[in-house]
């Protein structure tokens, strides 16, 4: 069962969520502050981070950026819902998903599983390394290189790129992408797709020109190519 690092300042949530997840067989390590959480990253080696957005000291967004500097571990934000601004900021800082508080353990666990499953589910039947222009995508190694240089991508970004590039020129709606990539079956999160596309673009696109690999089809969604 996955090792989860929970960074949450409120003791009742920390203990409640920790208790619920441990009961379901997860190994949970909890940190009270962002600093403590970052320190645990190196010793605990979590497979997934549950990160509260509002933290004393350095906040969740900053913690997320720090983690992303060194690690591509999946991150799920725990957020006070509806603060759309926070959600978008959190997603753009590199989070893979977000959970609105309060949430039942089953919801949290489903989200954790969905995020983790992304990496365990490579698109089959394709050659291991796809080359699209200057971009080479290693489907089994789950690495992406731009002009020969490795690009570090968060799990959701890799999953999105794999999915889009598996069917070049096919248009996917946000809803389809949500269902394939995030395993979400409800409408809450078109913002997830948009934020992830934005992040992916900053990493793989040529910043000076309009998007080449991931193109927006206005009113419908996104597609990979044509190059």
């Amino acid at each position: 069962m996955p090792r989860v690092l929970l960074i949450e300042d409120d003791p009742s949530i920390r203990e409640g969520v920790g208790l619920g997840l441990r009961r379901r067989g997860h190994e949970v390590s909890a940190a009270e502050t962002g600093e403590a959480g970052l320190a645990l990253m190196t010793s605990f080696h979590p497979e997934l981070v549950l990160l509260d957005l509002m933290l004393p000291g350095i906040n969740g967004v900053q913690v997320c950026r720090r983690i992303r500097e060194t690690s591509q571990v999946p991150i799920i934000m725990l957020t006070a819902r509806g603060d759309d601004f926070d959600i978008v900021v959190g997603l753009e800082a590199g989070a893979d998903d977000y959970i609105v508080k309060p949430a039942r353990t089953e919801v949290i666990e489903a989200r954790i599983k969905a995020v983790l499953r992304r990496l365990a589910d490579p698109a089959g039947g394709r050659p291991d390394v796809d080359v699209h222009g200057g971009l080479s995508i290693d489907r089994s190694g789950l690495t992406v290189a731009k002009n020969g240089e490795r690009v570090p991508l968060a799990p959701s970004e890799i999953k999105l790129l794999l999915h889009l590039s598996a069917s070049p020129e096919q248009v996917f709606s946000r809803q389809q992408l949500l269902e394939y990539v995030w395993d979400h079956s409800y409408h809450a999160d078109a913002r997830l797709v948009d934020a992830c596309v934005r992040r992916l673009r900053t990493k793989i696109e040529d910043p000076d020109s309009s998007p080449r690999y991931i193109q927006t089809v206005r009113g419908f969604g996104y597609r990979f190519g044509p190059l």
């Binding site: 003791p11 969520v17 353990t105």
Partner: protein, 502 residues
């Protein structure tokens, strides 16, 4: 300057001013004219009458008169007319004499004068005009002699016809003078009229502008108070009213902001403990089976109530976001038929309890998350409070531009479109097969925490569902109406633009 009425205040003020000036000028002129005219005529008249009487007294008449004598007297009297030369006529029985040799009887002496003369020994006079409109004074005087203190008529009557041309010219000159004086007078009166109108109208105009500004929400609008007249008093009152209004509005706003912040803060504060509780409720539920029945029931109760509380807090948060206008629309293009089907499937309502009639191939631009909430809420309500089958009908309608809320039932309708009342509309109807909504509950159905059935004070919902639904529809620029269908249960109709503006 925009005209506010066909006849503005300025026009009316000046007209009134001129009317007053004209009335006073005309009445003064008329009175003066009448007085002067009477004085002039009376003077001529009196002079003529007394002259004739004197002349008659001096005349010795020997009866009976013959034509010759009569003619002589007439000629004698005719020469001495005062104040103007006059024409003399005399009548005695059948004899007629005149100073005018071609006309023995006058054409301007009336029968009335003849009658008056015959009964009055002092004679009578009358002002007449001939056919050409020339005024004459006619005087008739009988020749009498005194007998033992009583006047005895001799039977001879003398008439004087004196033209009043000179008097008429004088009177006409007076009329002309009055007229020529009145017109420049009226013209000059326009100047004070304009000045007065300006001095009255400027404060009025200021006040109108200020009231308009006030109406547009500039509550700090004040008027400069000039002088100490009634208009200044009005301006002062206006300022006081504006100040009072500003104060109470700002107090209201503060109170509203405080109330909203309170609701938002309460919800936020509730959320943290709830998050912890909700995370462990499954632990309680799972372990309840191994405990004694009372403890198990208590645990399950706590678990269920925690779930309800979490829903309530979420709904409260959502409502406070709407109140704070912090709710955002994230529109996306969706295939509406597919969307509705998925919303129903996701909630496991696709087992025949919900019957759909969806227009295929319609793409709409809306916020999928919010619209999902709207649909789920309406269908969920229909299943909970009404009866299956629930009919969901989706169609589009092209509608010409029209005013907002035209034709909407004011009692059951809620929500105003504001933007985009014309163009393509999306109409979604959710109808259940239950008993419908009680008529007295219909106007309140969208109120927060409203429970249609007073006995069911704690239904499983939070009581905020329809309020949130309505706010979501409004956010899309649409309206939501509740009504009772013909022969069926309650019918909720969403009417919103097919393409919401983001």
């Amino acid at each position: 300057m925009r005209r506010i009425a066909p006849l503005g205040l300025r026009t009316r003020l000046i007209a009134a001013f001129l009317l007053v000036a004209a009335i006073s000028a005309v009445s003064t002129a008329a009175l003066t004219y009448q007085q002067a005219r009477n004085a002039i005529l009376k003077q001529s008249q009196d002079t003529a009458v007394s002259t004739l009487r004197d002349l008659m007294d001096q005349q010795s008449i020997q009866l009976p008169l013959d034509q010759q004598q009569l003619q002589r007297i007439v000629l004698d009297l005719g020469k001495r007319g005062q104040p103007h030369p006059w024409i003399m006529f005399a009548e005695y029985g059948t004899l007629r004499a005149s100073t005018n040799p071609v006309q023995p009887t006058s054409t301007v002496i009336t029968d009335k004068l003849r009658r008056q003369v015959s009964t009055n020994p002092h004679g009578a006079f009358q002002r007449v005009e001939d056919q050409r409109g020339n005024p004459y004074l006619t005087i008739g005087m009988p020749a009498v002699f005194k007998n033992n203190g009583a006047y005895e008529p001799t039977g001879a009557v003398f008439f004087v016809v004196m033209p009043l041309d000179a008097e008429r010219t004088t009177v006409e000159a007076m009329v002309a003078a009055a007229r020529q004086g009145a017109i420049p007078g009226l013209a000059i009166a326009i100047i004070p009229a304009l000045l007065a109108a300006r001095s009255v109208l400027r404060p009025v105009r200021d006040m109108r502008r200020a009231a308009q500004r006030l109406g547009r929400g500039h509550l700090d609008t004040r008027i400069e108070v000039r002088g100490a007249d009634e208009l200044a008093g009005l301006a002062r009152t206006f300022n006081e009213t504006a100040r009072a209004l500003e104060q109470s509005v700002s107090e209201l706003r503060e109170a509203e902001v405080r109330a909203r912040r309170f609701a938002s803060d309460v919800s936020h504060e509730l959320r943290t403990p709830l998050a912890g509780m909700l995370a462990v409720t499954e632990v309680l539920d799972e372990d309840a089976g191994g405990l004694d029945p009372d403890t198990a029931a208590a645990l399950r109760l706590i678990s269920a109530e925690t779930g309800k509380l979490a829903v309530l807090v979420e709904d409260l948060m959502e409502i406070s976001r709407f109140d704070a206008r912090a709710a955002e629309l994230n529109p996306d293009d969706v295939d509406i038929a597919e969307f509705v089907t998925k919303t129903l499937e996701r909630r496991h309502w696709s087992d025949g309890r919900v019957v759909t009639d969806l227009q295929p191939g319609v793409r709409a631009r809306l916020d999928p998350r919010r619209f999902d909430v709207v649909l789920a809420n309406l269908v969920g309500n229909a299943l909970k409070h009404g009866d299956a089958p629930v009919h969901v009908t989706v169609r589009t309608e092209a509608r010409p531009e029209q005013g907002p809320d035209a034709g909407a039932d004011p009692a059951a309708g809620a929500g105003t479109g504001g933007a985009g009342t014309g163009g393509a509309r999306l109409l979604v109807e959710v109808a259940d097969s239950g008993e419908g909504i009680a008529p007295e509950a219909l106007p309140h159905i969208f109120d927060r925490f409203f429970k249609a059935d007073a006995a069911r004070t704690r239904s499983s919902g939070s009581g905020l569902g329809l309020a949130i639904t309505l706010e979501n529809v409004r956010l899309h620029g649409g309206t939501l109406r509740a009504a009772n269908g013909a022969g069926r249960g309650a019918v909720f109709t969403i009417d919103m633009p097919l393409e919401v503006e983001s």
